[in-house]
């Protein structure tokens, strides 16, 4: 078994007991990246030299008997939406080409303190906006299971990196499903923690009231290892929860007897792919077999989740992305006017023209679309009808979850209505693309936790994901429920044949 085939949990143990060195481990993953990334394009930047130097330092520390961190020597990939001082942070945007932040994200700081080896920054939809990873200024990402298909998004690079064995652990971020949906489409495990569980400081903001960083890995056990490192209170993030971090691995092996899992009939509507439906139903059956009970619950406002999300997220984004104006950092227009000016020539001042052209050049189409939508929704005369209305519906959506969790411990269901779709299939229809978030946005709107993990494969060999959603701070239960399922199944252990072994 090659090192890159082994689980993160296993590698950490092997590093700890001296079976392998961090340098050997890091070299293996770097070699795998070198071989596979030209095809998959999961990484935007690879810090080979830096990673090997760090690996060597950790090996030396360990050899010298110095105390090392819990992830000591283990390679970790980080979505390029987190600030890193030693690697560019671009958010897959031309706007931030080559941008080097002067500070590390809190999560990156925690990873460094845990002695993880940061191997590189993963591709994503530009500024985390998208569900296919086709909105990257640096090229799309291919799904390792079928190179003609999308890996999902926006954490498509992180998902593909795990699925293609380019890293044992990866950091993703999830605003409306951006960890769980690509995890589902790439056959890996991804957790969106409760809002506030992981610090957002240094996470380049898309939608501040929805964004949350989370772990992506092959298994729930590996996710718990990574969550253990990145979770915790950060006084530098006002929205960070000041709640003690439990031991996420402690209860993984506890059986599921008596666990109440909710099933939402509306999830199984006409849009759901029959193969996906079949695997999801089989997963409920597997849980029953493991001692859980299944209960029908309703989330009456769930159908309004996507429009609610597509008002709140773009509105916040239009403000969060105002800072990219070419004044203090990032791309600035060079002064040459484009041939097609769209009739927009009255800029009031050279400054306003610089702003407008820098932003027009720096942002891709989906980012512009969302800035436009958010600017419109917040503008005078529309605020009440759109943004304020969406906030009211948001409360109803959250209340639905609170009510449901009075009756059940977790809610199960599909992550996506279909398996991975063809590249280019939805790029011309923004609303169709937005509907890929149907099952995932509720979690973010309610601020609760959700996990996605593989629960089967289609006849065509594409992974199918299962999602569990749980109340605030239910991460131990979400991880345990996923882990118990993975103890009884091997979907998460299957490797793609679309890439050379």
């Amino acid at each position: 078994m090659s090192l890159t085939d082994r689980s993160a949990t296993d590698l950490v143990a092997a590093l700890r007991n001296g079976e392998i060195t961090s340098v050997a481990c890091t070299e293996s993953f770097l070699a795998r990246i070198e071989a596979t990334n030209p095809t998959v394009n999961a990484f935007l930047s690879v810090n080979g030299e830096g990673a090997l130097a760090e690996a060597a330092r950790i090996d030396a520390d360990r050899a010298a008997g110095k105390p090392v961190g819990p992830l000591a020597g283990l390679p970790v990939a980080v979505k390029d939406v987190l600030c890193t001082t030693d690697q560019p942070t671009t958010c897959a945007s031309k706007m931030l080409q080559g941008f080097r932040p002067p500070y590390d994200a809190d999560v990156v700081r925690r990873l460094r303190e845990a002695d993880a080896v940061l191997v590189g920054k993963t591709n994503m939809d530009e500024f985390a906006m998208g569900g296919s990873n086709e909105n990257s200024a640096y090229g799309l990402v291919r799904n390792p299971w079928d190179l003609d298909r999308a890996p999902g998004g926006s954490s498509g690079g992180s998902a593909a990196a795990i699925a293609a064995d380019m890293a044992p652990l990866a950091i993703g971020s999830d605003t409306g499903g951006s960890i769980r949906q690509p995890a589902g489409l790439c056959g890996i495990t991804g957790l969106k923690p409760t809002y506030g569980r992981v610090s957002r400081r240094g996470l380049v903001a898309f939608s501040s009231s929805l964004d949350q960083i989370g772990p992506m890995a092959r298994s729930a056990a590996d996710c718990s290892l990574l969550l253990q490192t990145i979770a915790g209170h950060d006084p530098g993030d006002s929205t960070s929860l000041s709640v003690a971090v439990p031991d996420y691995t402690a209860e993984l092996d506890k059986p599921l007897t008596g666990l109440r899992i909710g099933r939402v009939a509306a999830h199984f509507g006409p849009g759901l792919d029959p193969e996906v439906a079949e695997h999801v139903e089989a997963t409920f059956a597997a849980y029953e077999a493991a001692g859980a009970t299944i209960h029908e619950v309703e989330l009456p406002h769930a159908a309004h989740g996507v429009p609610t999300y597509y008002l709140i997220a773009p509105s916040e984004a239009s403000s969060n992305l105002a800072r990219y104006d070419g004044a203090h950092y990032g791309h600035r227009w060079d002064g040459s006017r484009p041939p097609d000016d769209g009739g927009m020539t009255d800029f009031d001042s050279p400054l306003v023209e610089m702003y407008c052209r820098s932003r027009a050049e720096g942002f891709g189409p989906e980012v512009k679309r969302r800035i436009m939508l958010g600017t419109y929704a917040l503008s005078a005369g529309y605020y009440d009808a759109y943004y304020a209305k969406a906030l009211r519906v948001r409360r109803l959506i959250r209340q639905d979850f609170l009510d449901a969790f009075e009756r059940v411990d977790l809610i199960g269901g599909p992550v996506s209505a279909t398996p991975a779709f063809k590249l280019g299939e939805k790029t011309d229809d923004p609303v169709a693309m937005y509907l890929v978030d149907l099952y995932t946005v509720g979690t973010n709107l309610a601020g609760i936790g959700g996990i996605s993990f593989p629960c089967g494969f289609t006849a065509g060999g594409l992974p199918v994901g299962f999602q569990l959603q749980g109340p605030a701070l239910s991460e131990p239960l979400l991880l345990r429920a996923a882990h118990q399922y993975q103890q009884a199944t091997d979907w998460h252990l299957r490797r793609t044949a679309a890439l050379p072994a």
Partner: protein, 494 residues
């Protein structure tokens, strides 16, 4: 101008921005020192770098509460922050964190009067006070003819209270007096140093005229917002200019409120005029929405009580207290209080030592303040402490020397740094004993039969002629005692 011949009422509302005296910025740990080299007090948060987040400065919020309580505002039990979105290079996030629909305080008032009665005391309503972050500075050297502006973000994120008044002010003079009172209050509370030169207090004014018509209707001129006033004197001048300008325009055009959008005019202090500024329709759509990176703040009655208890007496209350406690005039109390808390403390220490307020108040105003103004600096650094002044006043009272001699001693104490007893000894001042005084007076009476005759003829004030002579012979004699002794000796004459 007198009210009688002005055919209109000037209606003024003010919008005041006050920087808080915190060590650090509102949302990050950068210091707020004025005048540092550009971009030396900046960090990812106040630079608006990707991924940076704000965390509210507790002290800034407490100072804001203090200001609002002193302005008699209601404090909201629940308050939140909002983003005010606009693009400007001194605002690196592209939005200002401010307060929109739920400011932390509202509906207050601050009264101002004039102890000399130049205008009726007036109560100016406060619509709201809210806490927001300041923007940075743009510098453009037009003379150099460069195409670029230079942006310094040191000031970005400095805590700022915005105080918005009702249009309750009725004259430029009142506006200035009210601003003085506001400044005094905020300095008393330690909220702000209110230094206009350093930009820690900035004022915009809204003004229009209400003009009674023959048919009883009140015509209102369009409201103009005046900016760029960098002293209270400028505010007064700009408002006076603007009232005259609007009156002229009204007579020429008859344009009334509502016939045009609100105009912004900048005050040109050197030229003494306001000039129209370009208005941008589009820029006023600020797209406010709740700031998702901050959480709301709730304030309990206990917290309000604790802050109230720590505030001390605001100037208006302190004036009354001093008037009553020390039996001084409203005018005197006003002069003392307007000099600030430290001077009031000095005065109270002095009055306590002297045992009465009037003498202490006179010495404060005629001597301490005069010297302080001549020397410059703060009362805390004034070389003559209240004990020394009390010593001088005490010696005057017991007749050791007169007030003018006391002033000489006071001046010498300042100049020499010696204590009062040494100065008195050094100047050869010693109390004249009663025997010596009697001998001196007898000698003068003998030498001035004309004065004696006048006094005996009923003109007692003629005795004053002997006081000057007595002082020539012995500078230490007490004039009152000389006068009393002379009269006594003359009466005793056969």
């Amino acid at each position: 101008m007198t009210a009688v011949n002005i055919p209109f009422t000037t209606v003024i509302g003010l919008e005041v921005h006050v920087q808080h005296q915190t060590r650090t910025k509102l949302f990050c740990g950068c210091v707020t020192t004025f005048g540092s080299p550009p971009n030396t007090q900046v960090c990812p948060t106040c630079l608006g770098l990707p991924g940076s987040l704000p965390v509210m400065n507790r002290r800034a919020f407490e100072l804001a509460l203090r200001a609002a309580l002193a302005l008699n505002c209601k404090i909201a039990a629940f308050t939140k922050w909002d983003r005010k979105n606009y693009f400007y290079p001194d605002l690196p996030k592209g939005y200002q964190i401010s307060q929109f629909d739920l400011p932390f305080s509202y509906e207050g008032h601050l009264e101002v009067g004039d102890p000399k009665g130049a205008f009726e005391p007036c109560r100016v309503g406060i619509i709201r006070v809210h806490l927001e972050e300041d923007a940075g500075k743009s510098m453009h050297d037009e003379a150099a003819g460069t195409a670029d502006s230079r942006i310094d973000l040191n000031r970005t994120g400095t805590p700022l209270c915005e105080i918005v008044t009702q249009p309750d002010i009725r004259s430029p003079q009142e506006a200035r007096a009210w601003l003085n009172e506001l400044k005094l209050l905020l300095v008393y509370l330690g909220v702000s140093d209110c230094n206009m030169q350093e930009g820690s207090l900035r004022v915009d004014a809204n003004v229009n005229l209400h003009i009674p018509q023959d048919d009883g209707r009140i015509a209102k001129t369009p409201i103009v917002e005046i900016k760029n006033m960098n002293s209270f004197r400028s505010v007064e001048r700009a408002l006076a200019y603007e009232a005259e300008r609007q009156w002229g325009e009204w007579q020429a055009t008859g344009a009334e409120l509502g016939s045009m959008p609100k105009q912004t005019r900048g005050w040109d202090d050197a030229a003494g005029i306001t000039r129209g500024q370009r208005h941008k329709e589009e820029s006023s759509d600020y797209r406010y929405f709740p700031e998702p990176d901050l959480v709301p703040v709730t304030v309990t009655d206990d917290q309000i009580a604790a802050i109230r208890a720590s505030m001390g007496e605001p100037p208006a209350v302190l004036r009354k207290t001093l008037e009553q406690r020390w039996d001084i005039s409203a005018y005197d109390a006003d002069v003392l209080v307007n000099q600030g808390q430290e001077l009031v403390s000095y005065f109270e220490e002095l009055a306590t030592l002297v045992g009465e307020g009037k003498a202490a108040s006179n010495w404060m105003q005629q001597d301490v303040l005069r010297c302080l103004n001549e020397r410059g600096g703060a009362i805390a650094d004034f070389p003559v402490r209240p004990t020394a002044v009390a010593d001088i006043i005490g010696r005057i009272k017991q007749g050791d020397f007169d007030t003018s001699r006391g002033r000489e001693i006071f001046t010498t104490v300042i100049e020499s740094g010696k204590d009062v007893a040494d100065v008195v000894a050094g100047m050869g001042i010693a109390a004249v004993d009663d025997g010596d005084l009697k001998a001196l007076c007898a000698e003068l009476i003998a030498a001035n039969p004309k004065i004696v005759a006048d006094v005996q003829g009923g003109k007692e004030q003629a005795a004053g002629g002997l006081i000057g002579q007595a002082k020539k012979k012995n500078p230490n004699v007490n004039p009152g005692k000389v006068r009393a002794m002379v009269l006594e000796l003359i009466r005793a004459m056969p």
